[in-house]
Symmetry: C2
Subunit: 210 residues, 2 copies
């Protein structure tokens, strides 16, 4: 027999109640208002209030990300899921969103480099890295290779979101990012991370509205 | 001064070591081999071994999902992130992957229904629901509305992946799915879930190769 389901159907009310629950449960007292907005959205994306304890912000990171987006800088993503999760309507300057993983040159490039396709894809970013927001939500190899590219003289991004996920290299790649005083970064430490968290951070930086 | 980074750069080796770590750490003894493959990939997607404790499979779910994909049935997704995360090369029958959230009819439909766009988008699935794999990795309202559609006579999917995430309705929508003996389902209980987990489950069912 058919049941009837009683649930909240208003999108704005769902967002409001979600963010109110997160702000009631999460310990955000150590964060600036800008950082707290990022943390709230990252928590919202994964359903875990405790993830805030694994988040690290360099002091200028949140403002640098906001300023880069307001200035129309691109968002460079390591995976299609990140690129397709960003809410375009929130972006302040119709910013370009770029993921080069599907470029037909990437498989050959990866073989030549002896690295993953996720890492090789970054070699196609070129000058677009200059002042960009880089969102790494998947591949530790992409994050390691980003640091290598910058060391080799590639243009410097305004902000790196270090949210690679998983069991091999994720924690290590984010430790390597955290040890770089030359880069603004927002990091989710350890094995945790993922495309939804990286998307949430971009969406938070893009627009102050919750 | 530039550092050099020492990390594993071979994609196949990274996968192998990741899955070996997960199988060493995770308690999979209560699962069938098919279920364990799904659990391993879901763990891989979120970086949390413990998520297996929140996973529930109906007895026929994993095999029903495999069979549906082998029979060429479509994969119906509640979000673009889910649709764009599925690895097409793993699909056994070049299966269609459908997300109707961006359809221009959806905003009006949502207003008429008094529900979210995520829920309204399901009204455009129509006959494609018949025997399909439905992957809900984001919106609780989509999962509730799926159950409503089936109660109203919509074609029955072969498998429902109930992995809605968040603080409002996520746990409740998945409880509602779990209480349906008429549907095969794989569920991540509670607030946890997300597009990466739903993608991981599809990718596991699509191909036995880890």
């Amino acid at each position: 027999m058919a049941q009837s389901y009683d649930y909240i159907k208003d999108g704005a009310a769902i967002y409001a109640q979600s963010f109110a629950t997160i702000r009631a449960e999460a310990d955000l007292a150590h964060l600036t208002p800008e950082e707290a907005r990022v943390a709230v959205r990252v928590i919202h994306a994964c359903g875990m209030v405790g993830v805030v304890d694994d988040m690290v912000f360099t002091p200028g990171a949140a403002r640098a990300g906001q300023a880069a987006l307001e200035a129309g800088r691109p968002i460079l993503c390591d995976s299609q899921m990140v690129a397709h999760g960003i809410t375009r309507a929130r972006l302040p300057a119709d910013n370009a969103i770029l993921c080069t993983l599907g470029d037909p040159r990437v498989p050959d490039l990866a073989r030549q480099m002896g690295n993953t396709r996720s890492a090789a894809a970054l070699d196609l970013w070129g000058e677009r890295m200059d002042g960009a927001v880089v969102a790494i939500g998947n591949a530790p190899t992409a994050l390691f290779h980003l640091l290598e590219l910058i060391d080799a003289g590639a243009p410097r991004p305004a902000l790196v979101l270090g949210m690679a996920v998983g069991f091999v290299g994720a924690a290590e790649s984010k430790e390597a990012l955290e040890e770089r005083p030359d880069l603004e970064s927002i990091i989710v430490r350890g094995r945790l991370g993922g495309s939804a968290m990286a998307v949430a951070a971009v969406n938070a930086l893009a627009c102050e509205r919750e």
